[in-house]
């Protein structure tokens, strides 16, 4: 690991000033950052410790669910307010990582977890995300776990986290602070960047920007939301495919529908065509089958991951059945 200066920030503005004045990383839970630093994929000269900032709140009101950036995965998953109003968020978190890591990992950190693409995490290989312009060995190499949506000729890495998939389906907003501005609000749908020719740019965050929290609007669909995760082993594994589904059914007709996928794209992948196929239709098994059959439209599998096409359809179907049950 390269050496660095560790600064303990006393306040949000101080943290941002520290982070802007040198190649820095904020450190919160540290569960992903330390892994990346140990293998020299991340080499900040300065770590700004934000653990003491007052950003751990979990609260709900008429405007929705408010999650502090530093609320832990474990605390949010266990919150009764989250479980009753936004169950897909709790489920996504409980299916993430391990109990130990969930005690450490935070909301903002989980949004910013880096891809688990093995080429990205091994400095012995080229990687356009780690070293822009060096090439992508995954496209003609080991790509079983990688993207079938949203990739480019430069990168087909997937976003590994579960939480943002649920947040994407439920329309979350990210609150970001920088020094010269007040807090600005960005829809999670606008927060991530697809790789295109610049896969090293993953979000709209600028140097020094600090995520301070999230808001998830309340809805009848959110109260009936579920998260389904398919992985190679029963627990403590990243998703091959996951699906967050939220439905509101009134008098047997689908009034509101939100569907997003994880494990298949560089960002949480919303499925507007599936949602459109569900809205206004009679809620029954035929509708679930018909809608789920559209879930892989537009997919471009790589050499080893065409199995995800069928898996996406089946995972969405399973999630629809769970929500409708």
């Amino acid at each position: 690991m390269q050496s660095y200066t560790l600064l303990r920030a006393r306040g949000t503005d101080a943290a941002i000033r520290h982070a802007r004045s040198a190649p820095s990383s904020y450190i919160a839970g540290g569960t992903d950052l330390l892994q990346l630093m140990k293998v020299n994929v991340e080499t900040p000269s300065r770590l700004v410790d934000i653990a003491s900032l007052d950003l751990r709140g979990i609260a709900a009101d008429n405007a929705g669910l408010h999650l502090g950036a530093l609320a832990t995965m474990a605390d949010v998953a266990a919150s009764e307010q989250v479980r009753s109003g936004w169950p897909a968020i709790s489920e996504a978190l409980l299916l993430s990582a391990s109990p130990q890591v969930r005690n450490m990992g935070t909301m903002a950190g989980n949004l910013l977890q880096r891809t688990r693409c093995n080429y990205f995490r091994d400095t012995g290989f080229a990687c356009n995300k780690r070293l822009p312009g060096s090439g992508c060995p995954a496209i003609a190499g080991e790509n079983r776990d990688l993207a079938v949506f949203g990739g480019s000729g430069a990168c087909i890495a997937t976003h590994p986290s579960d939480l943002p998939v649920a947040l994407m389906a439920l329309g979350a907003v990210v609150h970001i602070r920088s020094v010269e501005e007040q807090t600005r609000d960005v829809a999670l749908a606008d927060f991530y960047r697809l790789p295109g020719a610049t896969p090293h740019v993953e979000t709209l965050l600028q140097p020094g920007d600090l995520i301070v929290g999230l808001t998830v609007p309340p809805s009848n669909a959110a109260r009936k939301s579920r998260y389904v995760k398919v992985r190679d082993r029963t627990s403590f594994a990243f998703a091959l495919v996951s699906a967050a589904v939220a439905l509101e059914v009134r008098e047997g007709v689908v009034h509101d529908a939100r569907v997003a996928l994880g494990g298949v794209a560089p960002m949480p992948w919303r499925l507007p065509a599936v949602e459109a196929a569900l809205r206004g239709k009679r809620a029954d098994d035929d509708l679930w089958r018909q809608a789920a059959s559209l879930a892989a439209e537009g997919a471009h599998p790589a050499s080893e991951n065409a199995f995800k096409i069928t898996l996406v359809q089946r995972t969405v179907l399973h999630a629809l059945h769970l929500v409708a049950a």
């Binding site: 569960t31 330390l34 770590l47 474990a74 109990p99 130990q100 890591v101 005690n103 029963t234 627990s235």
Partner: protein
């Protein structure tokens, strides 16, 4: 990676002496002033198994390495060093964490419990006794982490069924495959604590 191994050994070699010195000065830890700057300089003061200790650490030192190589507490094991195996599980302010992904300098002012802190004198913690009774290990390398996780699991209220125990122990890998006996041990210890 022979180069990085060499570096690490060199670091550990010099750190062992510092660790001994720090251990002997543990009694002074409570009186050290808080540095005025926000940079983390000077000693890291922690309460480990109820005892205050102060260590001089490189900011890169993980809690795992601080415990093993500086505080002389080698019960906590290093497996993957990447948060995947759970062998290094300890309790940080009462919550289980993987100490390989915790920077020791960030633990200043915090309380840590390791496997060495569970027993009361010669009397084993009920979870330690249950692992012995039910043969919850073979080689034993993962066992301190398994037991630290299991103690936390019971405190969290996740010992409701064998399936729940398995899920909430999933952060601890046992390559000998002692899982059935581990589940038995956790179930038994949890039941005895209730009774």
């Amino acid at each position: 990676m022979p180069d990085s191994l060499m570096t690490r050994r060199t670091v550990l070699g010099t750190a062992a002496a510092a660790g001994l010195a720090a251990g002997s000065s543990a009694a002074r830890a409570g009186n050290a002033p808080v540095p005025p700057s926000e940079a983390t300089v000077g000693q890291t003061r922690m309460i480990v198994n109820g005892q205050p200790i102060a260590l001089d650490l490189d900011p890169r030192t993980t809690l795992l390495d601080a415990l093993r190589d500086h505080a002389g507490l080698t019960g906590t094991k290093k497996g993957c060093d990447m948060g995947a195996c759970g062998a290094c599980t300890v309790h940080l302010d009462g919550r289980r964490v993987v100490s390989c992904l915790v920077l020791a300098a960030r633990c200043d002012g915090h309380a840590i419990t390791t496997i060495e802190g569970l027993a009361s004198g010669d009397t084993l913690h009920p979870m330690q006794a249950a692992f012995l009774e039910h043969d919850g290990f073979q080689c034993g390398y993962c066992t301190p982490g398994q037991i630290m996780s299991a103690v936390a699991l019971v405190n969290e209220g996740h010992a409701g069924s064998d399936a729940e125990i398995r899920e909430w122990m999933s952060g601890n890998i046992c390559r000998c495959g002692a899982y059935p006996n581990i589940v038995e041990a956790v179930r038994t210890a949890a039941a005895s604590e209730k009774g």
